[in-house]
Symmetry: C3
Subunit: 158 residues, 3 copies
């Protein structure tokens, strides 16, 4: 091939970067008390192509979680386990905690956010997240009052 033809091929490929560039977005999840809020479908609708999906919850009193989405009892049990492991600061067991002025559920929420994932990394292939059959993506709310939670999302493409 002549150099001019090589050049043209090269440009043809370079004309595609917009569709292959990194993508950013933010998922907004309203919450109304402690518990798991699934947002697998919103994420599935956003991802495309091949690459790596990253999710980061932009708060220190809520978490991300990949868990079973078949039986809702699993989600209730998870919430109860963490409530017993880290009860409100009004519980005598937690009398050693000092950061109490934002409410009895605030410091436990920070502790839960240390115990549970703040970021998730999920490979994407042929436009689909490589999750297992029963895996769903959840925001885990730790605060009692209603909140609007933001999850930063990034998709890197090859």
């Amino acid at each position: 091939m002549s150099p001019a033809l090589l050049c043209h091929l090269s440009f043809t490929r370079r004309a595609m970067p917009l569709s292959y560039a990194d993508m950013h977005t933010t998922f907004t999840i309203p919450t109304s008390g402690p518990g798991l809020y699934e947002f697998t479908r919103q994420v599935a609708a956003w991802v495309t192509g091949d690459g790596l999906l990253t999710l980061l919850v932009q708060h220190t009193s809520a978490s991300l979680l990949i868990q079973e989405n078949a039986d809702p009892e699993v989600q209730t049990d998870l919430q109860n386990f963490f409530h017993r492991l880290v009860p409100p600061t009004t519980d005598p067991k937690m009398a050693y905690l000092t950061h109490t002025y934002e409410g009895p559920d605030d410091m436990p929420a920070h502790i839960k956010s240390a115990l549970l994932p703040v970021s998730l990394s999920i490979p994407v292939q042929n436009g689909k997240m490589r999750l297992g059959t029963w895996q769903g993506i959840y925001l885990f709310e730790h605060r009692t009052a209603p909140h609007t939670r933001q999850v930063a999302a990034h998709l890197s493409h090859e």
Copy 2:
């Protein structure tokens, strides 16, 4: 340089993308009861070049873990700690759990999978994972019955 020469240089680089594309694979790990199963060597044999390795366990009753691989006592102690923190549902302490029909070790496995990593992100440089001297990669099995576990792997290259 003439435009034609510039073009040729450009094409020379573009001829390399196949070797630098993102890579996907799946590691399969058979397990025979609770405990840590190291698979550092399999991962090390797969990674190449410079980029970012992501591992995601495709189950909600097993975890990934980076831990010391020098002394096997560390692995036994880890398993025992999590067994005491989250005992089987037959333990009176766990009587509040409702998801019990899949066996006494199932709901505790879901809780452990929330407490321990579901995904790991490891920078790769010159074909080697940037792990510390004593760090190994493990699948942490939480179920009693034998299982075949799948770990989705992705390597993004620059």
Copy 3:
């Protein structure tokens, strides 16, 4: 446009890869006893452009953590919670642990490093990490003796 001109445009873009290549570095954090050591500023000064930041602590007795950096009480309370959840091996509650020859704080440090993040993934946009308003990046030291901790960092660019 003529092929030669197309070629020139293409090369103009190809001349930029060095500044957009993946970047590796290591953050070194000296510690003097258990607790949280913030290094958000060092990371913020290093990241650039758009892409994905990955941090990996290269030790099995220290962790990474994204937490509130507004009130130092939060950090003290976090440290105390994990100290109570995983006390030293000299505590009668921990008599079942066998890996004790490296000191009473060693095996608890391994357990804490399983409970807390070993790697963090943070999207970067316009040269800034997409952290929430109150989120800071910490190394969480679990050992009593002074240590020099290494955090591997990787920045992938589109």
